[in-house]
């Protein structure tokens, strides 16, 4: 039986100058890379496969298997691209990791690159996080100086360059093929698959794209073994992971725990929903994962558990909303996000999100027409599963799940403005002078 919380990735956070090479090494950093470079690349991949590590960016695809898809006989260079575009609403785990311990990622990248025979690796960091980018730039520079990057790393004969690349504001670049287009200096719009990135990704060459947390987990796996990793979590959802709790809780924050912990346990640790209030709804893994309610408090937060209740583990971004919150308002704001972030490439996402926002605004203003809930769901049905990438599916998921759990609240939108039913000031963390809202 493992402990409730199992800090591994976050173990060195908050320590003195934890972001520096010196502090990282003092905490045992860069031991795994030495070990990995003495293994064959295939052994490293097998180790990660055996560990059961699944992608921590949302989709949960087995990391080692992804690596093994890189064709050995392809004459083109192989590339590793770390997806540090963390932009899914509610998701806030990779940025603190990179801020506190960028070397964990650097070390993971060296090991992963070695495993897939890559000699140029990229970290694509969203542009809106200046200090994270500073820390990452410095960590890479330090790693070069210390001989962890560059040529003949640790005398192994293995060469690797890492390029730290700042994005420029586009949620869609978290989608791996859009990220590749963006990294090639293009508009970040998703690509057709096939060909899959493992075969023809960056510069049409074999490419592995992994989330920050996935790659950052690799040094600990190499150091402590697959069995150690598998001793945490559940049978199909192995290892420790970062859960991000935010919203109407007493103490929001990051919790590194074995996969399969429940929201009830996490709420207990964080002091529960804010005083005098109760849980209304929550997301298990960002706004693209269908919302859940208090009845799901005891469902294990792992890939299977969340799938079993019609949602997804996603990025394990637990956004908690209490009873003061208007579901209609929250849904509208999420859909406004998706409209803002739709890349425009495909019709259902571009036009559907445009339409949904206007329709949801009428619900919020209490001016929706009788029957508009069904129209809303029908528009969602015409978007969902029809779009080029999964962005529209995320936009649809928050609407359909909200209607599923709170249909009455939407129907109230035929007559009553949401801000009357749920005065918005009550949801805020500070005193808000309610303004009289005028809506067109």
């Amino acid at each position: 039986m493992t402990d409730t919380l199992t800090p591994v990735l976050s173990a060195n956070w908050g320590t003195e100058e934890s972001w520096t090479l010196e502090a990282y090494r003092a905490a045992g950093g860069y031991e795994a890379v030495g070990k990995a470079l003495k293994m064959t690349p295939g052994e490293v991949t097998d180790l990660v496969k055996d560990s059961g590590l699944r992608g921590r960016g949302g989709a949960g695809f087995p990391t080692g298997m992804k690596w093994s898809f890189v064709p050995k006989d392809n004459p083109n260079p192989k590339y590793l691209v770390v997806n540090a575009d963390e932009s899914e609403p509610g998701t806030c785990k990779d940025m603190p990791l990179l801020l506190a311990s960028p070397h964990t990622l650097v070390e993971g990248m060296i090991i992963a690159s070695y495993a897939i025979d890559c000699h140029t690796a990229f970290v694509y960091i969203r542009g809106e996080v200046l200090h994270v980018i500073r820390r990452m730039q410095q960590a890479v520079a330090e790693a070069y100086d210390a001989g962890y990057l560059g040529t003949n790393i640790l005398g192994s004969g293995y060469d690797l360059d890492i390029i730290v690349h700042a994005g420029a504001g586009a949620y869609i670049c978290g989608e791996e093929t859009a990220l590749l287009d963006s990294l090639e200096g293009r508009r970040g719009q998703p690509r057709l698959r096939p060909p899959f990135p493992a075969v023809a990704g960056l510069y049409a060459s074999p490419t592995v794209i992994n989330n920050v947390e996935s790659i950052a987990s690799v040094p600990a796996i190499v150091k402590n073994g697959a069995a150690w990793f598998g001793s945490m979590g559940t049978e199909k959802s192995k290892g420790m992971t970062l859960y991000s709790l935010s919203g109407h809780v007493n103490r929001p924050g990051q919790f590194e725990a074995p996969l399969g912990i429940t929201l009830r346990e996490l709420l207990e640790l964080s002091g529960g929903v804010r005083a005098g209030h109760e849980l209304k709804f929550w997301t298990p893994g960002g706004s693209s994962t269908p919302i859940l309610t208090a009845e799901h408090l005891d469902v294990p937060l792992d890939y299977e558990g969340m799938g079993g209740v019609g949602s997804m583990l996603g990025t394990k971004a637990l956004q908690v909303f209490d009873e003061t919150t208007s579901v209609v308002r929250t849904t509208l704001r999420w859909v406004e996000f998706y409209k803002h972030e739709s890349c425009g490439k495909c019709t259902p996402c571009r036009e559907g999100s445009w339409w949904l926002v206007q329709l949801l605004k009428s619900f919020e203003a209490g001016t929706a027409q009788d029957g508009d809930v069904d129209k809303l769901l029908d528009i969602c049905d015409n978007m969902g599963g029809k779009s080029f990438c999964a962005l529209a599916d995320g936009a649809v998921a928050c609407v359909t799940s909200a209607v599923r759990h709170f249909r009455d609240e939407f129907e109230a939108g035929y007559t009553t403005p949401a801000w009357e039913a749920f005065p918005y000031g009550r949801s805020a963390l500070f005193e808000v002078n309610e303004k009289v809202e005028v809506h067109a």
């Binding site: 586009a170 425009g344 019709t347 259902p348 036009e351 999100s353 015409n382 599963g385 029809k386 080029f388």
Partner: protein, 810 residues
């Protein structure tokens, strides 16, 4: 839009797989997209972004289908875009015809596309031929469920002088941007902004000036892209369409010409997979109004008391017959490049059988010493079956360009080369003075060559059997270049193709519009050939004496050695020395002109016959591949009902030696009956060698500060008279510049954009300098026929020496 990418007979049966669409089994080549497979059995899946000649994009999502079985027993959980879905063996596909899921997905998509689409169909050019309108009518809701606000933008936006964009109508299918990037390689339009604001845009300083820009109007599935030329001109359902072959160059594009009230309103690229696929160039698309000006000839003219006056047809024919009868066989015939094969044949027969002269030449341009021999032995008398074709360009590994600039001189050859470079790993080598923008788009390797030294450059290349040498008409001006082309081809097994510029050139050659060449590629010098033709023409014999080439004819006319000239469409400034041409036309005793419009020739003529515009008559153009392209009559109510052929027939009747043909059908039948000459292989080689020995042309000496060699060709959109009247097209022309290497610029002391004077034998003019890195030294490039300054006025040609100096007037 064509619906099938490849004829089934080009696909080996071994590659076929079986899929089931709406319950019907169909065998398709491996790799076929579901949307194409459905087309093969007559199932049309609605689509907007899909285009068989563009890379799949899957953007509009209109073509959703259900896939209950991927061929492995498992179904796909979500509906799929059939335009990006490759068929797999055993795959089950259900379209809107058999799947409620597919049908709802498609209806939903259409609704999404319409929520922001303006309700302006009644004033939209596309209305009546609009895929979105058709879809909405067939499958849309009667009433919209959308009660929101429609997205609006200022409109229209001119993305070039010729193309307008109404962003509100755009469905963002990206056909235009994909065309510009993938097909023509001119990504001056791009998707800009994102999400609901995504739109097609340009960068304001760099408009969409592509030679192929009109294609984006044609492939736009809505009325978002329109042309200045056609906007608000007609409704599609009021147009009468006729298929023709383009008269502007030797590419041989099929065009659809649409007329209303006996006026051509627009021309579209026709579908001819073997030639232009579904594309054409802007010149072919937009340049069709040159015959509408005040200078259009509608009635015959004869010279009386030194001035031309309107005459009746009988009067004009009598006058011409009298003048020609007086001249006897001391007549020359200049046919120019605008003629159909049938008309050209008429001139050839008229010259030889009626006038009794072999002085006939179609080349209204600078010519080279060994050119006629090269054309006789390497080009004339060939057929499509033994020629290099467009399709061949996609299968060969290496193409060498000699004296040929594809994008400027044969734009559809350029497009096909680019396709082969993109898709088939073709490599291109250009023997030229610098890497042009067009050749850069072909990733061509430049063999930097001073004009005139092409022969040596070609001989130095390492060619393999099966490679192709595309040789342009300019190569004739480089000493020995044509001989080198022939020799290298023979030595290596490379194939060669001559790509002339004008649409009528290849046909004129076949019709026998060269002094030494009878119809069907028969050498005049060969007795058997002469006997053959004489027999076919019902004559005892043909004139055997060697005729004069164009320049010699004009010189002879100026010297009084020729009594008369019969001239079709030529412009003095197209020749090496415009003044010499004018002198010939002025001094010749009797000048007969057959023309569409007033010209420098009609000004000097004694009798002028107005002849039909290309849109007013039928015939055939032979393209560079030797392929016959049909020209059908578009306008049947003609201002000038007489064709060249009928005028010639009338003159022949008047001269008492009937021509025997007076309709295009008769002319083509007679030429076809004659067939082509089967030359003994040895003879052609001998002729080529002989020609090579003759080549060598001393550069003219001119005064000036820096003497350099002249490189030049015609830009696609230039001062040519066929483009007259289409101002929007003219505004998209490339600027006229003088290109020099950085070192030469330094020597001259000029900076980018400074004026430099170019002096030739008979004049000078100035152009702004464009400093061109990588350009071969000792060379200047200028356009051959920039508006107002045709090179013929300078009296210099490609490969001549010219003088460059600083300054000159703007």
């Amino acid at each position: 839009m064509s619906v099938v990418t490849k004829p089934a007979d080009q696909v080996a049966p071994v590659d076929l797989i079986t899929v089931t669409i709406d319950g019907t089994e169909v065998q398709v080549p491996k790799g076929t997209l579901a949307i194409r497979a459905a087309e093969m059995i007559g199932i049309a899946i609605p689509r907007f972004c899909d285009h068989p000649l563009l890379d799949p994009v899957g953007a509009c999502r209109q073509c959703m289908v259900e896939v209950p079985d991927m061929g492995n027993g498992r179904g796909m959980p979500k509906p799929q875009a059939s335009c990006t879905l490759e068929c797999a063996p055993g795959m089950q596909i259900k379209t809107q015809l058999s799947s409620a899921v597919a049908e709802k997905a498609q209806k939903g998509m259409l609704e999404f596309l319409l929520i922001n689409h303006p309700l302006d169909c009644p004033i939209c050019d596309k209305g009546g031929e609009c895929p979105l309108q058709n879809q909405a009518l067939a499958n849309g809701r009667g009433e919209s469920r959308y009660e929101g606000r429609k997205r609006t933008f200022p409109k229209p936006v001119a993305i070039s002088a010729e193309i307008l964009l109404d962003r509100e109508r755009c469905v963002l299918c990206a056909r235009c941007t994909r065309f510009s990037e993938q097909i023509s390689g001119d990504p001056f339009i791009a998707l800009v902004e994102r999400g609901a604001l995504q739109q097609v845009g340009i960068y304001a300083e760099n408009p969409y000036d592509s030679y192929f820009s009109g294609n984006v109007v044609q492939i736009c599935p809505v009325g978002a892209l329109t042309s200045v030329a056609y906007r608000f001109q007609s409704r599609p359902f009021d147009l009468v369409s006729t298929m023709v072959t383009c008269e502007h160059c030797a590419a041989g594009c099929s065009l659809r010409t649409d007329q209303r009230h006996f006026q051509v309103k627009r021309r579209l690229a026709g579908e001819l997979p073997e030639v232009n696929e579904e594309w054409n160039c802007d010149k072919g698309r937009f340049a069709f109004v040159s015959g509408r000006g005040d200078d259009r000839l509608t009635r015959p003219l004869i010279r009386e008391d030194g001035a031309l006056r309107v005459a009746s047809w009988p009067e004009a024919i009598d006058a011409a017959v009298a003048g020609l009868a007086a001249a006897g066989s001391r007549v020359g015939v200049l046919t120019g490049g605008r003629l159909t094969v049938e008309d050209a044949y008429g001139y050839s027969k008229f010259a030889r059988a009626v006038l009794g002269t072999n002085s006939i030449d179609f080349r209204s341009r600078p010519t080279g010493a060994d050119e006629a021999a090269f054309l006789a032995t390497r080009v004339a008398g060939r057929t499509l079956a033994d020629a290099v074709t467009y399709a061949d360009l996609e299968t060969v590994g290496h193409v060498v360009l000699v004296g040929f600039e594809p994008e400027e001189e044969s734009p559809l050859v350029f497009l096909r080369l680019r396709k082969a470079v993109r898709k088939k790993n073709l490599t291109v080598t250009a023997i030229a003075a610098f890497t042009t923008n067009g050749n850069a788009k072909l990733n061509a390797t430049l063999v930097p060559t001073v004009p005139g030294e092409e022969a040596a450059a070609l001989r130095a290349l390492d060619l393999a059997a099966g490679d192709v040498i595309l040789v342009g008409e300019r190569a004739a001006l480089a000493p020995g270049a044509l001989a080198a082309v022939a020799e290298v081809a023979d030595a290596t097994g490379a194939r060669l193709a001559w790509v002339p510029r004008r649409a009528g050139d290849r046909g004129a050659l076949e019709a026998g519009c060269l002094p030494g060449l009878l119809p069907g590629g028969r050498p005049l010098a060969d007795t058997t050939a002469r006997v053959d033709v004489a027999a076919a023409w019902d004559l005892a014999n043909l004139p055997a004496s060697e005729g004069l080439e164009a320049t010699a004819m004009l010189a002879a006319a100026a010297a009084g050695e020729l009594q008369a000239l019969v001239v079709a469409g030529i412009e003095p400034s197209d020749f090496a020395d415009a003044e010499a041409v004018r002198a010939g036309l002025e001094k010749v005793g009797f000048l007969v002109s057959l023309e569409n419009r007033l010209s420098e020739v009609t000004e000097r003529a004694d009798v002028v016959f107005p002849v039909a515009l290309i849109e007013e008559h039928a015939g055939t153009f032979l393209n560079w591949e030797h392929r016959h392209g049909r020209v059908n009559t578009v306008i049947k109510q003609s201002n000038a009902p007489m064709t060249d052929l009928r005028v010639l027939a009338a003159l022949a009747d008047g001269l008492g030696r009937p021509l025997g043909v007076r309709t295009p059908a008769q002319a083509l039948a007679e030429l076809t009956e004659l067939g082509t000459w089967q030359a003994p292989a040895a003879a052609s080689k001998k002729a080529a060698k002989k020609a090579a020995a003759k080549a060598a042309k001393p550069p003219k000496a001119v005064d000036g500060e820096v003497r350099v060699k002249l490189s030049t060709w015609r830009q696609l959109i230039d001062g040519g008279r066929g483009q007259d009247g289409e101002e929007a097209l003219a505004a998209t022309a490339k600027p006229s510049v003088a290109r020099v290497s950085p070192a030469l610029a330094a020597e001259l002391g000029v900076a980018e954009g400074d004026q430099v004077a170019v002096s030739g034998g008979s004049g000078w003019y100035s152009l702004p300098v464009a400093i061109t890195p990588g350009m071969v030294e000792g060379t200047v490039w200028v356009p051959t026929n920039s508006p107002g300054t045709p090179l013929g006025e300078l009296g210099v040609v490609f490969g001549d020496e010219v003088a460059l100096s600083l300054g000159g007037e703007e």
